[in-house]
Assembly symmetry: C2
Homo-oligomer: 354 residues x 2
């Protein structure tokens, strides 16, 4: 349930300008505390850094995750299915079934068809069956909101907390694909004004099509100790969540992280750190040293860009992420990472394109 950490950075995609603050830790603790009965069948429940719940059905593990997307654009259906499916896949379970709630604004029935078409496309691409849900025009909802609950089962699950000292951290696909696309939509005028070519912006927008990490996650799920799907707070935020969940100290080598040129151009122009930019589309995995070559081979032979970017140093009751540039320690992350998108919106208030 690292999703509880998300700000609306994830919701400010494509034309939205409101950024709402991250839930402070004391409020997260309230949410975690009021959780109904304790059930020993619940192997992974509400916890910081754990994206999906794992329930033991006599040796078969049911994995489930719910995520809302609040959007005006038709991509809301695509995003909802993909984001929730990612969270299921990083436990090693194949996303199979989705229960989907669609809340439309009043008189918003006309918005329904592109949304369900988009859900259908995403579900078909991932092999997911939509098994039910609920659709309504809801009073008090200003724009279409889609809440996807995705489920899958697995005989072996991995949790964010599974990372162990000595594990090598790899990243699969490029960093900040999601954040780059959001910036291309939300800061388009500013980027054009600062000399970014239209072609770069259009390419960046299409990164939204690439936010799934389901396939690469399932390719290596049997040989990883932990996987994670970085969202808000980007790669550094996700690494801190791994450190926190597994109670370890982590080293990351900044120069090894791979980004698309569009991401680097846009980040440089807006003076933001792409390592802290919302990052669906990237997969992080902690892999035992003797399995790293196998993992890299499996992924590269299927065409996935992949890089070794860090390692789990040791167990620690003060979990942290040490960021190295070459051999130089340049930053130590000791808490949850504020997403660069949230910071940008604060700087840009009230509306950057006006």
């Amino acid at each position: 349930m690292s999703s509880c950490l998300k700000t609306s950075a994830g919701q400010s995609r494509m034309g939205e300008c409101t950024v709402v603050g991250k839930l402070p830790p004391e409020l997260m603790n309230i949410v975690f505390r009021f959780h109904g009965v304790d059930d020993p069948k619940v192997i992974v429940g509400p916890a910081i850094g754990e994206d999906a719940a794992v329930i033991n059905l006599d040796g078969l593990y049911l994995v489930v995750h719910s995520d809302p997307i609040t959007e005006a654009a038709s991509r809301v259906g695509w995003l909802a299915v993909n984001v929730a499916a990612n969270d299921v896949a990083v436990t090693g379970a194949t996303p199979r079934w989705a229960s989907i709630v669609i809340l439309l604004p009043e008189n918003g029935i006309g918005l329904l068809r592109p949304i369900v078409e988009d859900i259908d496309r995403a579900a078909k691409e991932l092999g997911i069956a939509v098994v039910g849900g609920h659709t309504e025009e809801a009073p008090g909802v200003e724009k279409p909101t889609v809440i996807a609950t995705v489920m899958g089962v697995t005989r072996r699950y991995v949790a964010t907390s599974g990372a162990r000292p000595g594990d090598v951290i790899i990243m699969v696909k490029h960093g900040a694909l999601e954040g780059t696309a959001i910036l291309a939509y939300d800061f388009e005028k500013m980027l054009l004004g600062r000399g970014i070519e239209r072609e770069v912006i259009e390419t960046a927008k299409k990164f939204l099509d690439e936010i799934s990490v389901v396939k690469p996650a399932l390719l290596i799920s049997d040989i990883t100790d932990a996987m994670h799907d970085p969202t808000e707070g980007g790669i550094l935020g996700a690494l801190y969540e791994i450190a926190h969940a597994s109670q370890t100290r982590i080293a990351v080598y900044k120069d090894k992280v791979i980004f698309r040129t569009e991401t680097l151009k846009i980040a440089k122009t807006l003076k933001i750190d792409p390592l802290k930019l919302i990052s669906s589309g990237t997969l992080l995995a902690a892999i035992p040293p003797d399995k790293v070559n196998e993992a890299l081979h499996r992924l590269s032979s299927r065409g996935y860009p992949v890089a070794v970017i860090g390692k789990i140093l040791e167990k620690s009751k003060s979990p942290c992420v040490e960021v190295y540039e070459g051999k130089k320690l340049v930053e130590t992350v000791k808490g949850f990472v504020k997403d660069e998108l949230a910071r940008l919106w604060e700087l840009a208030k009230p509306y950057p394109q006006d």
Copy 2:
């Protein structure tokens, strides 16, 4: 997914005055059509009258249902868990786990604690563990919205479509408990003005505490052909959904239906038919004739009010519900039933209490 049929009658509880129209059949068909891949493991998928999905995990059936509640009041958490749990229980599965998304309006963090306390209370009462979800301040949401996905497993499931000719229809608990409470909240001034005693209204409001049908449903799940949890459209609406799902003709004996005196008083005052009033809190079951006595015994010995109210007449490609008063056929329901609450709000527009 009969939930797709719900209007915001279910959302106009306690002080809300907007009523949004039922999704027309052609739009429901769009939702049902765009459902991702076809999966033979999905035994009960999106269909009219089926409240929960049933997925076959090698003989163990996973049952799942998602429902949103859009409310200003703190009871939103209570309602969300109970309404979704009811839909799971009527398949015969014990509701066990919930994934819950809480969307708060901007700067609405202060609203969180009563909501999660309410979720916790409902979950504890039902034996449910909250396994995860997502909480955020969401731009574009005017008031707290809680979306509960409740899951359970069972070795034997019943579907709304399981009703067979000869089955006896029983109702457990009283009709329109939910609708009566909603009217007591939303039409309080009007009811007082028309001479309804304050005590009646306060008693009626408390009916919201009684909307669970989980326990009685599980008491008889092994001896029923079908169960249903009437929501919008009330008991008649639910009977039509059973008729439609099981392709049968149904007879219901109006005089046999049991209501609380508060419901009858309020319905009479507002000139509405309590048979068509949103009705969470009532359980309907279609029971083979040789099991009826056993069902009645199990329920009454646990203190549940119960009544035989109708029967499944025959298979029919033109499913309908024939309503009898004594021996006289007084109405034939051949389509989805508009909830009396929706009709009332339309009459009362713009705002009945102004």
